[in-house]
């Protein structure tokens, strides 16, 4: 039996060192949301005072949940479905639910990377002219009426194809030579490029006005529930926890690695980068407001509006506009690719484990359908609407729901948190106490459930962005339900006879004792 497990572990691949694992995990956590979401969320929710709920959320929900994913993947040494299957037969569906969510996210995430790559080149000649918003929706995306069409836009489709070719190449190379190598090269580049962007932004006129707007504390905001919800939401969405990524990556780390110490590095690196992004983005927005003779409040925004409308406007006015553009959009591409790689790896790893497929076979079996779906749905004149709806619903009613379900199931149904705590503590440099189990079983699920219920009510009361009902029912609510059904249907497929479904740690310990 032990030879079966060793053979299986050899075939799955692994990171060559803890350092590679940490960089890959940072690459996954640091994504587009760190750059375009955190600064505005902090600004809108108390400015400098937001630091307090943000830290509380990081310490009571973010890091504990990250360690839960680490413990699960590291102890049970498998992709999300295999790890959950090794916890309990009836838990496997949770893993496939996470896999289905990752497939959906990969499909639209690639499109944003393609846009950012195209905009990096647009920065050289400021192709958007004096009207970045008109250019984005008109000349570039050629956005028509909301719907699902097949009118392809070459400016989107070509970079989208290239993104998928690059990502599939990385995935086919494997865990160390693909994912690990990309993290080793791209993460230092990302940090250096963004630090350079921040330095340039800080030299612009009006940068201090932007920083003043971001950091001036509004202590009254601490009494508002919405501010605390925003803090927990930001931490949860930015750490890449709850949908299989950290489970998968942790299964590629050596058996006796320090997972708690690694988790702290990843958590603080993610938050540290968010702070850096906040400084860079608001320094640039301060410049934009000063140049336009208005207040920061008038120009502050987030998401696609920040990246593809506000930043082009900044690039138009700034002395080193092209440089800012290349650094900003280049950072988006790098942060996006390292996150996309981690998202699609959840699916590839699950398919490999379930069907005992080769790395290249699984990469193609997963990557080609994902790429085709992505190109057909997102490479068209209606792609921006499809992206907006799927992103909105799958984040809230996909990731949030599966995260709460996983935490509650592991804590109260399968009662594995005590075992996982002991496992993490065995080689961990930072010991976690029983309080961790309470945070995982009670505090974090309660906070996330509060967010979930609030979002659910909001979306029922007011249809998202006024999109047609049929689009919201299919790409939104329908997809959120479909990933659950698909997940639990996939769990009914049988495992191969030679797949070990017990607890690999127990067998490893027995082997150590017998030798």
């Amino acid at each position: 039996m032990s030879s079966t497990i060793e053979h299986s572990e050899d075939d799955r691949g692994a990171f060559s060192s803890r350092k590679v694992f940490i960089l890959a995990a940072i690459g996954s956590a640091v994504g587009l949301g760190n750059i375009w979401r955190f600064p505005y969320v902090a600004y809108e929710n108390g400015g400098g005072a937001f630091l307090i709920p943000y830290l509380v959320a990081l310490l009571t929900a973010g890091l504990p949940f990250l360690l839960l994913d680490y413990g699960l993947g590291h102890r049970y040494r498998g992709s999300a479905p295999l790890a959950f299957r090794r916890v309990h037969r009836s838990a496997e569906g949770l893993g496939w639910w996470q896999v289905a969510i990752c497939f959906v996210i990969a499909v639209y995430y690639a499109a944003v990377i393609a846009w950012a790559a195209r905009y990096a080149f647009f920065s050289f000649d400021k192709a958007w002219g004096d009207d970045p918003e008109g250019f984005l929706f008109g000349s570039y995306l050629q956005a028509g009426d909301p719907g699902i069409g097949l009118d392809f836009v070459s400016g989107v489709t070509v970079p989208l194809v290239l993104v998928w070719v690059a990502v599939l190449g990385i995935m086919a190379l494997g865990v160390q030579k693909g994912i690990g190598a990309v993290a080793m090269i791209f993460i230092p580049i990302l940090f250096i490029a963004f630090i350079a962007l921040v330095v340039v932004a800080l030299t612009l006129d009006g940068a201090s006005a932007g920083l003043d707007a971001l950091f001036t504390p509004d202590w009254g905001a601490l009494g508002e529930t919405s501010v605390w919800i925003a803090a927990f939401g930001q931490i949860f969405f930015s750490l890449s926890v709850g949908f299989g990524i950290m489970i998968t990556y942790a299964s590629y780390v050596g058996r006796r690695s320090d997972m708690t110490g690694s988790g702290l590095v990843v958590g603080f690196a993610n938050s540290g980068f968010e702070l850096l992004a906040g400084i860079g983005v608001f320094a640039a927005l301060g410049f934009m407001a000063t140049a336009a003779g208005t207040s920061v409040d008038e120009v502050a925004t987030d998401g696609l509006g920040l990246a593809f409308i506000a930043f082009p406007a900044i690039i138009n006015e700034a002395p080193a506009g092209a440089l800012i553009g290349v650094l900003f959009f280049g950072s988006l591409v790098v942060a996006g690719v390292t996150s996309l790689v981690s998202v699609i790896e959840v699916v590839i790893s699950a398919v490999r484990d379930k069907f005992e497929m080769t790395r290249i076979g699984a990469s193609m079996a997963v990557g080609v359908p994902a790429a085709l779906t992505s190109i057909i749905l997102l490479g068209t004149t209606t792609g921006v609407y499809v992206l907006d709806i799927i992103d909105h619903f799958i984040n809230r009613f996909g990731i949030l729901v599966v995260a709460v379900a996983s935490m509650l199931a592991l804590s109260w149904v399968f009662r594995k948190t005590s075992l996982l705590r002991e496992h993490l503590n065995r080689d961990g440099s930072v010991h976690i106490g029983r309080w961790w189990q309470w945070l995982i079983g009670l505090v974090a699920p309660a906070a996330l459930t509060f967010i979930l219920v609030s979002e659910f009510i909001n979306n029922l009361e007011e249809p998202y962005e006024g999109y047609p009902t049929w689009m919201l029912n299919t790409l939104g609510w329908g997809l959120a339900v479909a990933v659950i059904l698909l997940g639990f249907l996939a769990a009914r497929m049988p495992w191969r006879d030679n797949t070990f479904l017990g607890d690999p740690e127990i067998h490893a310990q027995q082997d150590e004792r017998s030798s």
Partner: protein, 42 residues
């Protein structure tokens, strides 16, 4: 920038970047076990 904004910015930098520095120092202090070799990935 106002004094309160400068103070909050410095506190945020100290906690988040300082936390990162301390966690890296802690990790280097306890090296743990590294995998012996890169495992094959078919």
């Amino acid at each position: 920038m106002s004094t309160s904004a400068i103070i909050m910015m410095l506190i945020a930098m100290t906690i988040l970047w300082g936390g990162l520095a301390v966690s890296i120092w802690n990790l280097n202090r306890s090296r743990g076990e590294e995998p012996g070799a890169v495992q094959r990935d078919l």
